[in-house]
Amino acid sequence: MTDSQPEQFTFDFFKEQPHIIAESGDELKITLGKFAGPLDLLLYLIKQEQANIFDIPIAKITDEYLKYVRLMKSLDIAVAADFLVMAATLIEIKSKLLLPRDPFAPEEEEFEDPRKELVDRLLEYEKYKSAAQMLYERTTVEQAVFPRGRIESDENNAEVDASVFDILTVFQKILARHVDEIKMEIHREEISLADMIKTLKKRIVDEIELSVTAFFEEMHSKRELVTAFIAVLEIVRAEGIRLTQSKTFGDIILKKV
């Protein structure tokens, strides 16, 4: 390839046909489930290709990687967003490598290998992957060791050892017990202005004279109160409703004209 057109950045996982599936579907299915993430998959592919991690044949590895991702899709394995992010990263690196070097770039400017960041991440990740292996081996050994059975004095102390997350979890559970009440509350609070106006109008028609104070006192929350207040203003402005007040600071009565 020359500098004509670098490969397209966008790709469609659904349109492309999986290439490997026909050969050894079962085996792959098993392998696929084992990858702990995109870096894990990449390491696997690099080893498969027997490639040098410091000189990754990016075009080949990208192709293989995309094949796997498509395969996961075709096998109805939910592909985590992180796998797609890595696919995009690989394609970007691949296209960068295809771009010719700027001939006018100053000589002394070190050519930054577009793969470097990825290699660093892979090496860093691999350390933790090995550490995970070590932990796995440790648990295997530890599972061969047993503590004593419960004795009488344990009974007096049959309690839980709490962490802060236990406190939070417990608190959430308590809140969950009230979930119905809370739902009702939310429901009540979310009465719309239109509904409030409707209710108010009906009350004025039914009761002929309605005390604003009494109406406000029926509200359950500040928010409802505000809605009620706006409803009163709205009804006075738009409908044939009058506000009357017998004396200053006295009760305000709503009345149909």
């Binding site: 939910a78 503590p147 839980v160 709490a162 802060v164 406190i167």
Partner: protein
């Protein structure tokens, strides 16, 4: 065939060791019949091993004894050291809380300062004894009285609470959002 082969290779010392391990992990006194069944040995062999083990425990004069109790065998501390054992059990550091105490502590931690009636309102059960436990353990402290009917006492978490749960200050308590963040990205993963 293999099992038989393997069984025959067990020396009396090995058998004693295995019997000791089994008695140790058992939650209740273990009978020689059960031991014989598990180890696929005859009762006499096991009886002998247990008897030998008992003698060893006695001649060791350590802190433990092997006792026959309720038809089975059990390892327990020697009666001579019960005073020290009792003293230890009493001073045992306990960051441990019953569920009732933990619930009450959770409500106080997240709603502080909070009164007993308010805790009742949230938990839906009386919390008086839990509050007493938490006060005894110094996990909560009184925070003055609420200016309302009856002027009930308000409670909040203490400095000891922060220390025991490894928090710098109350803002370090995990919030519902932290959990939702976890739950949120969990949904994404699936």
């Amino acid at each position: 065939m293999d099992a038989v082969e393997q069984k025959q290779t067990k020396t009396p010392a090995e058998l004693m060791a295995i019997v000791e391990a089994l008695i140790f992990v058992s939650e209740e006194p273990i009978t020689t019949k059960v031991l014989a069944d598990v180890l696929e040995e005859n009762r006499q062999t096991i009886d002998a091993a247990v008897e030998e083990l008992k003698n060893e425990f006695e001649s060791r004069e350590g802190g433990l004894q092997l006792r026959e109790i309720a038809g089975g065998w059990q390892i327990s501390t020697r009666t001579e050291y019960h005073e020290e054992v009792r003293r230890y059990l009493k001073t045992r550091p306990s960051a441990k809380l019953s569920l009732a105490s933990l619930e009450t502590l959770a409500v106080i931690a997240y709603k502080q300062p909070v009164t007993v009636p308010e805790i009742l309102e949230i938990r839906g059960v009386q919390s008086a004894s839990a509050i007493k436990t938490l006060l005894d353990k110094r996990l909560i402290v009184a925070k003055g009285r609420k200016e309302t009917v009856g002027r009930p006492m308000m409670y909040g978490t203490s400095k000891d609470f922060l220390i025991q749960f490894g928090l710098k200050d109350l803002s370090e308590l995990p919030s519902i959002e932290d959990f939702e963040d976890l739950a949120g990205s969990l949904a994404q993963e699936q």
